[in-house]
Symmetry: C2
Subunit: 435 residues, 2 copies
């Protein structure tokens, strides 16, 4: 345990030199990962699951160092809880590695092979992107999530976790490197930034020679700063101001059930509904019913004048007048913005103007309206008659989720293994030449 890779923060090496070394090592290893067999990558994931289970006590001991420091530094109890590697968290990490191992291998898949008039056959092959950088906070299990997706997709990665979880992350990372070695794969494929120096992030996001894409998780401020300063593409979303729109023609029971779920099943996720739009034709019928649900659950309603006039009569409802700012807001709390609209057009225009292009749903029995909504709402996920809470890589069947993108380039929406790959063209010929 005394090599330079394992404890460079104790050396005189500068952060830039350190990051260059990690990046270079990841890049070289990624080339080998890209050429590795499906079996070797799956074996590494199974070995990792086994090591997580067999080293549970070590993980808890190292985790205790982070917990002690966090408590000494006065971190709030919920923050400390997020750091904790309990038996349940440890078993879940092990299982997630096994689940990723069981997914189909995205690498090397060839699609769209077609014969051209010249005789050549042209198609596309899915290959790893190369090396991704991941920046995350608190929960140390993200180290295992990111590492397992890197291994499965044949990429290298450089992980930068939160300083409060550094001991836990190092312990987990040691298991990842050992599991790679178990499977005959280069252990340098997964790198962990071993220093808490913030300059490391600045370098990580600006070395295209070693790192092809950055995936940040964390607060909006952090992600905005990373996006502005990065010299490589960033897979990200900033906000989840998701809308549920209740159309003029709708099954009211369905609308109440889905809107309730979209808002209240959990308040903190980015795919929870934050704004409710109701067509004027259903306002008088729908708003009192959903208003009662929200009143019973203590959800505050920030309503426009027309919605307020109806909701004010609901016993126990907390209704306040919405300001312009409310239409932009991602509350992540028992608060919802409510607006009555005169048409589908107005609903679509409102969502495209105020929304965050994350996830938006229409509840309707009218087929053309549903089709117009999903085509014209410019968001990563668009839904008909379903809860916005479904916007999730596992619910979509991707098998895993490394992040959610609200950009239109490359991966959009929940990002699984495919978002970590690239499609190159392959041409299969028998000596054809161009005329």
């Amino acid at each position: 345990m005394n090599t330079a890779t394992q404890s460079p923060e104790n050396t005189a090496e500068g952060v830039e030199a350190l990051m260059n070394r990690l990046g270079q090592a990841a890049r070289a290893a990624a080339t080998m990962m890209a050429a590795s067999s499906t079996a070797a990558r799956n074996n590494a994931l199974l070995a990792l699951a086994a090591r997580i289970r067999s080293e549970a006590d070590t993980l808890k001991t190292r985790n205790a160092i982070d917990i002690y420091a966090a408590e000494s530094n006065g971190l709030s109890a919920p923050m400390v809880d997020r750091l904790r590697l309990t038996d349940k968290v440890i078993e879940t990490m092990a299982q997630s590695c096994e689940q990723v191992a069981a997914l189909p291998d995205p690498v090397g898949e060839m699609t769209n092979l077609r014969r051209r008039p010249t005789g050549i056959t042209v198609g596309q092959m899915r290959v790893p992107i190369g090396v991704f950088g991941m920046i995350f906070e608190s929960r140390p299990n993200v180290t295992i999530e990111a590492a397992s997706l890197a291994i499965k997709s044949g990429n290298g990665c450089v992980l930068r976790g939160g300083s409060e979880a550094i001991e836990s992350n190092k312990a987990l990372w040691a298991l990842v490197q050992a599991a790679l070695a178990d499977a005959g794969l280069p252990k340098d494929a997964v790198q962990l930034v071993p220093t808490t120096d913030r300059a490391a992030v600045g370098r990580l996001i600006a070395m295209p020679e070693y790192v092809d894409v950055i995936i940040p998780r964390g607060g909006k401020g952090l992600i905005e700063r990373i996006s502005q300063e990065a010299k490589v593409p960033v897979i990200k979303h900033l906000d989840g101001n998701c809308h549920t729109y209740v159309d003029a023609e709708v099954d009211l029971d369905l609308a109440v059930k889905v809107t309730d779920n979209a808002k209240t099943q959990k308040y903190s996720p980015c795919n929870a509904t934050e704004s409710l739009l109701v067509h004027v034709a259903q306002a008088a019928a729908f708003l009192p019913r959903i208003g009662k649900v929200f009143a019973d659950k203590g959800v505050e309603m920030r309503a426009d004048a027309r919605a307020k006039a109806i909701l004010a009569d609901v016993p126990g409802a907390q209704v306040v007048e919405a300001t312009e700012q409310d239409w932009y807001e991602e509350y992540l709390a028992p608060v919802i913005a409510v607006k009555v609209v005169d048409s589908l057009d107005e609903a679509i225009a409102h969502i495209n103007r105020y929304g965050s292009h994350h996830t938006d749903a229409i509840l309707t029995t009218n087929h053309p309206n549903g089709m117009r909504f999903i085509r014209e709402v410019d968001s990563a996920s668009v839904m008909i008659n379903a809860s916005t809470r479904f916007a999730d890589g596992f619910e979509y069947g991707l098998g895993a989720e490394i992040g959610i993108s609200t950009d239109k380039f490359h991966a959009r929406g929940p990002v699984g293994l495919e978002g970590l790959t690239s499609l190159k063209f392959v041409v299969l010929g028998q000596g054809e030449v161009r005329g």
Copy 2:
């Protein structure tokens, strides 16, 4: 012809305000284009073809102004030729609009729809990206190419052509706007930057609120500068240092024919082969034959020591010793770098190190070697037994080509209509909620 949109360069309006106005107009129109019918967009393309033919004389008159200025400014004859709107160029533009109209509509296509255990159906819908900015030089027909692909793909665009073609571009753009209006589509969907002020480019590439992606065509220096300064993704390639690798097991007749075509069919395209790698087992048999072809066609060979020793005996061969720099070079001329390698591994490593990740081919009869090559060579197009000259949107069956990308994100290789679109997730439910 006296509205502000048509001649803003004559007003006191600043370039930034001008570009903001063009961008805003394109953004607003793009929303309508995204929602427009397939028929309307195809009608616009057919109307454009008709107008190009019926206004051929006007086009030639306006083009003559550019030609006169170019000749007065002492532009070289080949440069002036590239500017010229001949009857043939005009007819080709009209036909290309008809060909784009005949392509399948990429917009609204839904794929991968699958039922999930929860009951929801999840898939992806292809939608326009929004607005692209295109920066190009000399040939005015690019105005029609870019406009027709924007119309077909339901995008808006802001075009910035070369100052030497400004009158021709304006005349073509007027036809585009008229054709959009013919079809009941917003004419603002296609904007032309009407000023030759270079500050316009700086603004075009840095207004993500209006322009989603930049596609530059031109010299490497221009594209590098744009890539560094752009605040939005750039679809681009810098070099085409393409390789042809002759493997240890190969059909020599095929190898001579394909290598000849890859190098000499045309010298200037980015997909012409610039470096030839030959396995040592075939060097003595293959190099004299290809050396004779190159000698006869006046192609200079920059060879490593082992290749030079063989090629020196070929009558009439122009052989010089290669320097390290030759392995990086994109000659775009009757010059080729030649190297003997000891293994497939060495060939792959050489290509990944010195190449430009554009297009590389292996000529082999050995199946595992072919498969390893196409998997491990990290380029946008990889080929077995075919000429690198095939790397082209039309040859690949994309129906059109807006550019070629050597990046791994989003579109890679020749970029057709799909590269101008984005995939969003669609969820079709019957009132499902998340548990």
